[in-house]
Structures are given as C-alpha cells and as structure tokens.
C-alpha cells in the first residue's frame, strides 16, 4: 500500500506521465466500450468492419459515418474503435506470451548457468542477429498471411529481449545473501526461483513490457500495412492506413481532399504508441529509485 501511494505520488509529480496515463486510460475505455460505441451488426464477426457499398473512392465524414468511409466503403469510425480492441488483443497477447517465454528461458539460463545458459543465450543471439521486422515478415510469409501467423511470428521475434533481461537480473540476484539463506533453510530450486528470485527480478521486465506494447502494435500495424496481417476489412489500424495508401496525395489542386483516411487511424496509432511509451518511462523513473531507495 505504502509503495503504491509512493508510485502514484511520483507519477503525479511528472506531468508527462499524467499525459501518458490519461492516454492509456482513454484507449482502455474505448477498447472496453467498443460494443457500445460502435455496435456490431448482430450475427457477424465484430472485428469485421461493415461496408456501405463497393465504390473505391473514400467518402468524407458525415452524420452517419462521423470519420467518413475508406476506399471500398469501410466505416472508419467503426474501424478505429474496434481497432483499439484489436490492438490491445494483439499487443497484450504478444507481450504476455513473449514475457512468459522470456521469464522461463531467462530464468533457466540465469539460475543454472553453464551449458544451459550457453545454449539458450546462443539461440537468442541468433534471433538478435536479424532485424526484427524483416525476420517477422519472413516468418509470416512462411506461415502464410493472417493475424494468427503475425501473432506467432511476433512472439518468436520478441521473447529474446525479455530472456536477456531476466537472465541478467537473475545473475545479479542469485548471488545475494537471501538466496543462499533460502538454500540454507532447505528451499527447493523451484521455490527459490519463484519465491525469492523472480519477485525481485520482475520489475525491470514490467517496465520494458509497458514500453514495448506501443512498439509491438506499431510493428503489427506495419505488417498489416504491407498486406501480411489482417484480412481485408478487419478492424486494424495498420490495415486502415494501408487502405489509404492511394489517397495520400489527394486530388489535383486539392492535396488534402482525403485527409481523413490516413489522419484518423494514424492519429490513433500515434497516440496509442506515445501513451504507452510515456507511461513506461514514468514507471521506470518511479521504480528504479524505489528499488534503490534503501
């Protein structure tokens, strides 16, 4: 309780983190309230954006479609609202699974050391040797396009960072006296890792994960933009931006005629990434000195 209060006070003291927190809260509410904000048609997959015709030319905002219609007459408003939910679903899933793999692999490598460490860390080296986005693209192509393969590919690319982080933390904590004291009272290895080491190693991981949610969503959007992610019509910001590709230059004499098709999903994506980054920065500032306070 005392620590929570302390964290909240530290967050209050830095205005940028309040902005970050506000943005994240805003998106969370949008994601939760998506069915109310943009009711899906009954009996259809709510993540598929409803279409209002087949004309390739986007339509500007109107009372029925507050953010306008994209190329192919998809409703932009519905798309960005449900896209928020999709972003959370994909982002959180990818981060959670990656972090879990990272904890297990990093934990094993850090605690047991020697050959296990050597093998596991060389595997992470191999993954680190490729640029993340390129590797993810290659994997998606190999698995066949689709959201599931994007998720899988992203997890495969993302976990080594966490494994490295956890391993480093564990190496540091493993030599602390309280770990040896736990051994002295007869704790099993598993209990030492779970009860004594991980709770002390997990904070940097939480910070990194919150910083990463933004970048994961951004990367997934990039894959969608390239046509490797969600199927056409799926509520996904990257996909929506991809649909605006032909309309960025506008009409002759009217360069911003179709501003809404790229600005609106772009803005959502931008704010989402920035919000998480600010929040993650704030968490880092708060937790680092807290750990060292005494």
């Amino acid at each position: 309780m005392k620590e929570l209060k302390f964290i909240l006070r530290r967050i209050r003291e830095t205005p940028l983190s309040i902005v970050g927190l506000a943005i994240v809260i805003f998106f969370t509410i949008v994601a939760i309230a998506a069915p109310a904000l943009a009711p899906p048609r009954p009996g259809r997959d709510p993540y598929m954006i409803p279409r209002y015709g087949y004309s390739p030319i986007p339509k500007p905002p109107s009372p029925e479609h507050p953010f306008g219609l994209t190329q192919g007459q998809y409703d932009l408003y519905y798309g960005v609202i449900w896209g928020t939910r999709a972003a959370y679903r994909i982002g959180v899933l990818i981060i959670a699974v990656s972090a879990l793999i990272g904890i297990i692999v990093g934990g094993l490598a850090g605690y047991y050391g020697r050959i296990i460490d050597e093998i596991l860390m060389r595997v992470t080296d191999i993954i680190f040797a490729f640029p993340g986005l390129i590797l993810a693209m290659a994997l998606v192509v190999a698995f066949g396009p689709g959201l599931d393969s994007v998720t899988l590919a992203m997890i495969l690319v993302w976990w080594p960072g966490y494994a490295r982080l956890i391993r480093g933390e564990i190496l540091r904590i493993r030599s602390e006296d309280f770990v040896e004291a736990a051994k002295a009272i007869g704790c099993s290895d598993l209990r030492i890792i779970v009860k004594h080491i991980l709770p002390n190693a997990i904070y940097p991981l939480l910070i990194m994960a919150s910083l990463d949610i933004g970048s994961v969503v951004l990367t997934v959007a990039a894959l969608s933009f390239l046509g490797l992610g969600a199927p056409e019509g799926y509520a996904d910001w990257g996909q929506l931006i991809s649909l605006s590709r032909n309309w960025i230059t506008g009409k002759p004499g009217e360069p911003f005629a179709y501003w809404y098709v790229y600005t609106i999903p772009g803005l959502f994506l931008f704010l989402f990434v920035m919000g998480w980054n600010l929040l993650g920065d704030a968490l880092r500032d708060v937790m680092d000195p807290m750990i060292r306070r005494r």
Partner: protein, 336 residues
C-alpha cells in the same frame, strides 16, 4: 558433553577457470585441510583476516558449500563417543556428502546468520513470511500454527506482533538482524553459524545483539560457530577460539589463554594490531611485512613463513601439524 561438529581434514577448493573453453586452470584453496571439533553447547570463535577462508569454512560445515574432500561429523544428540573408532559408526554421522531429502532435513538442525541483514532478507517478503518460511519448507507447520510459532520466536528475539506485516526495509539494521536470527531459530536448530553477525550494525546496538546471542544460547541449548574479524568481540563472547590463516587453522585455545599467551607468530602479530581503546596504553606493535599471499598459490611448508619473524629453514619445507602444547592450547608452528 560431546562434540556436535567434528571436521576431519576438511578441504574446500574453488576452481579457477580461464581461457576460451573455460577450462580449469587452478584452485583457490579457501579451506585446505582443517581438523577440529566444536563441543556441544559452546561458542566456538573463528578469527582471521579477509580471504583466510573463515566464511567458506563456516558455510562448508553446514553444507551450503560442498566440501572438496574430508569429513564433517554432525552429532546433535551426543551419541558419538569421545574418541570414535574409524569405521562404519563414523560414517553414520558423516554429513559431508549426503544429498537430497536427507540434506534437506539436516537443514533444520544447522542454520546461519549472515553479516548483512539488508541483503540476507528478501526485500519483497513480509517479516511473517520470511520467518515462517523454514517451517513451511520443512513441512513442520502451516497457516495459523506457523504464525503462532513465528510470534513466539519474534518475541524471543525482542520483536512484537506489530512487526509481522512489515517489509524488511522498514526496520533498522539491528532489528533486521533480529529478524534474521528469528528465521534461523524457528526450527529449533542445534548448531548456528554466526558469520560476522554484528559487523554491519552500530556500536551502540552491537552489545545488545551479543547479549541476545548469549541468552538464546542458554535458553535454547545452541552451539555457535562465531566468525569475526573483530578480535575483542571474539574474546568477549567465545569459549574457545581458532585462528585461521590462508585456509589453515594455526592456533586453538580458550580466549584468555590466547590473548595473554598467543603462541603462533601470526596470532601474536594479529593481536598486537588491535587498537586499544585507551589512549594511555601504547602497545608494542608487530607490523607484518608484505601482503597476505594468494590462496590460489600458497607458500610451501608453513604458509606464514614468508612474513614470519622467526622463520627457519624447516618452515619453508615442512608443514607444521596442529599439536597440543598445553592442555587445550593447540598450535601449528615449528617453534613448539
């Protein structure tokens, strides 16, 4: 009274690895062949300077480190005869190579209190959980019963119910050390290694911890191995004292005898170096020349000979044995 702990020719080497393939290129001989006994119910003081292997010896005795060779006999009930015949009987008491379940249940009877309570208590656990953990792990008590016993032991070390639901960082150094003591004592062990338990607390609190150790020893029938580099404290608390130099025990005696009549040249130098808290007394100092040699590459013969004032030819060739020169006073030196 019998001997609760007997070490026979105990060695602990740490490998030095080097090169690309991390091959073993040598050993740090932290404990190199020590033989001694700790009597049931006594406080056995162990002094020496940093790097002499005293902490390693303490941790090896309670099997936090696996000995490289030698035997450790542990006899909490006093069943082992004074001078046991070598053979099967001894091996029943030998804990130097037991493993698994047996080792785990042994942990109940041997505990350790560390030098720095700030690092020996898990910062993310409540006091209640820290102190109860040995009970839970050993399967001795759970839930309400465990809490009851935690409370009992906390009161014994001078803490109270209100401290149960706090984190270690909310306590002062002396109080933290009391928590660590409570954790060590909750399973009612017989033998406790105290590894410089007062060196990280303030002078004014130090004495109260020493008092606590004495009191607990009386009430709970404990045997202590008290490791310290503070000679005046060792003198004040121990029943017998061993002096260690570079992985070897060089002298054992009761503290009075040791302080008034140190025999080993190293012990003499060590004691003459203690600053006396009396500005009017000026002691004749024996300033040791040179640096302590590395335990990876100890000198031949007597390990102290390169710094010894009385070194003779034999000292560099033959290792002196620990012999009893007076009743209860053992020394490993060619002078005697």
């Amino acid at each position: 009274m019998g001997n609760i702990v007997t070490a026979i020719n105990l060695r602990k080497y740490f490998p030095i690895v080097g090169g690309v393939f991390r091959r073993k290129i040598g050993d740090v001989k932290a404990v190199d062949g020590v033989t001694f006994t700790i009597k049931t119910g006594e406080t056995f003081g162990l002094v020496g300077e940093s790097g002499c292997g005293k902490t390693t010896l303490g941790k090896t005795l309670i099997r936090l480190l696996d000995p490289t060779s030698g035997k450790i006999l542990f006899d909490p009930e006093g069943n082992l005869p004074e001078d046991p015949k070598i053979g099967e009987r001894i091996n029943n008491y030998d804990i130097s190579s037991i493993k698994g379940r047996k080792l785990k249940s042994l942990r109940r009877y041997m505990q350790i209190v560390y030098q720095n309570p700030s690092t020996s208590l898990n910062p993310r656990m409540l006091v209640k959980d820290i102190v109860a953990e040995p009970l839970v792990v050993q399967g001795l008590a759970k839930g309400k019963e465990a809490e009851e016993r935690v409370l009992q032991i906390l009161e014994r070390v001078g803490l109270a119910r209100e401290h149960l639901y706090r984190y270690p960082h909310e306590f002062s150094g002396g109080q933290k050390q009391r928590i660590a003591i409570a954790r060590a004592l909750i399973t009612h062990p017989k033998f406790i290694v105290l590894d410089e338990p007062t060196s990280s607390v303030d002078v004014s609190v130090r004495a109260s911890l020493l008092d606590l150790f004495k009191e607990l020893q009386k009430k709970m029938g404990l045997t202590y191995l008290f490791i310290s580099h503070d000679l005046s404290m060792i003198e004040a608390i121990s029943d017998r004292v061993a002096v260690m130099y570079l992985g070897k025990i060089v002298e054992i005696a009761d503290p009075r005898e040791l302080f008034n009549n140190p025999l080993h040249p190293y012990t003499q130098a060590l004691f003459s170096a203690i600053p006396i808290p009396d500005p009017e007394v000026k002691r004749e100092r024996i300033i040791l020349g040179g640096e302590p040699p590395s335990p990876a590459n100890p000198p031949s013969g007597c390990r102290f000979h390169p710094r010894c004032r009385y070194a003779k030819d034999i000292c560099s060739k033959q290792e002196p044995a620990l012999i009893e020169v007076k009743p209860g006073h053992y020394v490993a030196c060619h002078l005697y």
